[in-house]
């Protein structure tokens, strides 16, 4: 373009934040892992050669799901508060996130306890057991990792080590947490709605 050479200065050189790009890449890779586990779950639906079957033993974890999904909102609000440099409010929302996530995890623990000791379903019982514990367990592992990191962030805010400058980093963590929640929407739909 001939006009370009007349323009004295180009646009200022601004590139995206490194944390957001990095976590997005991680999310793409992790999604591929989850997709394979979800595909295996769907592929083996109804192929177990012995019981128990999903319909007999699974209850829809409504409370846990509501808690986990609303924890995403709390994480979002925590980041927003930090952006406005309101550290107190931020730690409040972070505490809410950790609490709601823990309730979800406790729900999963209770569900697993009942499945193992009441219904006799373990990872070796049948294909349903293998795929169910793997998929839900993989997700629960991600919840635990997220909770540990959120709890760390919460501790830092409580000890006054966090300021507005860290909003971007908390944003990266919240993106991971949103991803974990989004995966749960898929797992919930596949395991508790369609697969039951």
């Amino acid at each position: 373009m001939s006009t370009a050479s007349i323009t004295p200065r180009e646009q200022p050189w601004i590139l995206p934040s490194r944390g957001v790009v990095g976590i997005s890449c991680l999310i793409v890779a992790e999604s591929a892992v989850f997709i394979i586990f979800v595909v295996a779950y769907i592929f083996y639906l109804g192929k177990s050669i012995s019981g128990p079957n999903p319909r007999d033993v699974l209850d829809v974890p409504i409370v846990g799901t509501i808690c986990l999904l609303s924890s995403s909102l709390a994480a979002y609000l925590a980041v927003g508060a930090l952006r406005r440099n309101k550290v107190r409010i931020c730690s409040l929302w972070l505490a809410a996130t950790v609490l709601l996530g823990s309730i979800f995890l406790a729900g999963t623990a209770r569900e697993w306890y009942q499945l193992i000791y009441k219904d006799g379903l373990t990872i070796r019982t049948n294909l349903f057991g293998t795929t169910f514990y793997s998929l839900v367990g993989l997700h629960a592992t991600h919840v635990i990792v997220g909770l540990v990191m959120l709890a760390l962030a919460l501790t830092f805010t409580l000890f006054g080590r966090v300021s507005e400058a860290h909003a971007q980093r908390l944003d990266v963590l919240s993106l991971y947490w949103h991803f974990v929640d989004a995966v749960w929407v898929v797992v919930f739909t596949v395991v508790y709605v369609l697969g039951r």
Binding site: M1, A29, A32, F43, R124
Partner: protein, 563 residues
Amino acid sequence: MADSVPLTGALDLTSAHERRPLTLEILHAWVTTVDHKKIGLMYIGYALIFLVIAGLEAIVMRVQLAVPQNSLVSPQVFNRMFTMHGTTMVFFVGMPILFGFGNYLIPLMLGARDMAFPRLNAFSFWISVFGGLLLYFSFLGGDGLYGAGNAPDVGWFAYAPLTAKVFSPGHSTDYWTLGIFLSGIGSIGTALNIVTTIVVMRCPGMKLSRMPLLVWLYLVMCFLVFIAVGPLTAAQIMLSIDRYLGGHFFDTQAGGSAVLWMHFFWIFGHPEVYVLVLPAFGFASEIIPVFSRKAIFGYPAMVTASVAIGFISLSVWAHHMFTVGMGPGANTFFTLSTMIIAVPTGIKIFNWVATLWGGNIRFTTAMLFCVAFLFQFLVAGLTGIMLSASPFNWQLSGSYFVVAHFHYVLVGAILFTIFAAFYYWFPKMSGRMMSETLGKWHFWLFLIGFHLTFDFMHIPGMLGMPRRIYTYELDRGWGVWNLIVSTGAVFQALAIACFVINLLRSYFKGKIAGPDPWDAWTLEWSTASPPPVYNFATIPSVQSRRPLWDLKHPEDSDSKYEL
């Protein structure tokens, strides 16, 4: 651009006089480094060691198969050899060597001082190293320490149900699983790092449309790593659950499916071929223009074709499974998608040839390897199209024809361009030129060896010789062909010896290279050889795809012709 920094400003000419560090200090500096150049070199060195090991495993197989009814090694040892050869070459030679070059070159080409996440970079490297060591530790510990000599023997794609605890007792398969799992984590980490570096670390003016093609190809390759290595990691987790926790994913006795493993493995396995070949395209796309003294022909078409290959390669995996019996629908789909991928690949070959056309070609060793790559990659592509036709595939799947085909890609295309990359970038990495005389010996010996081995390997395949057999009967008529194939391996080994000698000799005694020995155009040649820790004393800014051309030819700069 009045406010841009001239590129020579990238050189810090103050000489540094310091005392010689102790050996221990040097070692400590390498182990604890987060510098992308040192990590890149460690990746390359680590891959070269494994290249020699896996090459020796191939030699064992070729000696065993050279004559009929040979009994040099037992069937069990032969199984371990082909398993370890394949696994090592893909995960501990191919991936690390390409990540090594990527690590070294991408920040330099983008005018950055390091990768986006230097510590993640070091972590990814060391976790991959650990994976490789675990795999080879199986030679000692695969059966408990007293049962030495029990490496994995399930083949590099480890089909179920052979990997079940019943059929593969002991721990050798677990070492295989863990080694690949760890290397996968390392690969994803490095891929994440490379993508982030490309997106956020470009120097001012380095728009996506001005990036060197090598960087573009690494970008596509890294996206493939996310999408392909993820499933492999998932499948390895499932296999471990089966073997350790008594799960039934691939347990056919409990309703599990062996075919599901095949799908999961090849969802990784086929994109993996493109993970390996895309950086090779990148090397060719940098080297061919420089030694043709012409800008690359059809840059936008090259980028588009690369991205297209990336997309299409995700939908071709089941052409490895035509003999499973997937039904006519799936067979047709995967036949067509596999044939379609030849279109963007063909576009790339045409563009390289068009770059050569009318150029002032300089046949350095690097260029020779690239020209050989063009021919061999074409042949590899053509046998690929043959194999993509499912009826043809039914006849030759699992035969030496397939082995010959994919070695044509992996050796004839990928390894040849990797050698080209060594000759081209060694001066930048070490500050010294490699010997052209030894280089020519290396090239011609390797070319002869390659064609003896892999051209003639097609023939026993068509005569019906299955892969993975440890020996064959005298009356099959495969003996002559196998002898020729094995003779080729000797030439290749000699060539590799020339290469290793050349590397070592040139490192100590090579001619001093200077910053820009090839009169090249990309940013890595604007800084010293080897580059200082900080790469560029001042961050450069670029106005076109060939910043050094602009600098050398201000009267005819590329930026005038940019769209």
